[in-house]
Symmetry: C2
Subunit: 120 residues, 2 copies
DNA sequence: CCGGTATTCAACCAATCGATTGAATACCGA
DNA sequence: TCGGTATTCAATCGATTGGTTGAATACCGG
């Protein structure tokens, strides 16, 4: 699977999103992260593996602890993808609105009918 | 499942992301969308259902065709989530860097050792 | 009304996912 | 070295996913 898919998939789970949210506050160990969730430590460890494989977190080693650290850079991948298509979609709406405006001006300039097109 | 999870999950598939990308250019029918992919029409219809359940597209009715239309608004959900935590993560790095700078200034001001902390 | 076209519904299947429990590994401290 | 703590590995399980094929539905044009 490609990286972007892994990132999206990793964030498609509320528990994992919550972990990411908490890791923006501070690094944490696996067992610290596990406290609020009603699942086993092993399940949390697996969730972290998913986040790690997506490049969203790294695990360093500090004695027997494995502090988890958020890597904010990967967010850029998503942001770029989203912004690109969001922008293109919005531009298209603008073009569509322009076309509708032209149509309205050309042959509906006295009927006062309401097109279903989006408000600009 | 909550909406944000559905949106992330929907975009975690390359085929579905490609559909979204193409829909930023123009609305399209199911069979039009299916052309480039080496899967059955039914599979494409299922992919569209996933995008629809996530609120990313809507299907209107035009005779027996069902033109698919991209809804750009839902992108905002993701963008907000991402930006919020991306920002918090970056702020934390800044605070961390400040702390490291203080430490370096306080007791490492002649050793020239290299902390593993991120470059600011 | 009938044939063709577009699309969805239904049943099924293999692979993946999220969770579990139990065992293994790694490291610290006494 | 031994016991405790932190974490991962492995096997298993049920639910979900992404694909298939075949049947059903909806609509247009003659």
């Amino acid at each position: 699977m490609d990286e972007l898919s892994r990132v999206f998939a990793a964030l498609a789970d509320p528990t994992r999103r919550d972990m990411v949210a908490r890791l923006t506050e501070a690094d944490a160990t696996v067992s610290e992260l596990a406290v609020p969730y009603d699942v086993s430590i092993q399940a949390v460890s697996k969730h972290l593996k998913v986040l790690e494989d997506a490049g969203l977190v790294t695990r360093t080693r500090d004695a027997q602890r494995r502090p988890v650290h958020l890597e904010a850079e990967v967010f850029d991948l998503m942001t770029k993808w989203i912004e690109r298509y969001q922008q293109r979609a919005e531009q298209r709406y603008q073009r569509l609105d322009a076309v509708l405006d032209e149509l309205n001006a050309a042959d509906n300039n006295r009927t006062g009918n309401n097109r279903k097109g989006r408000a600009s």
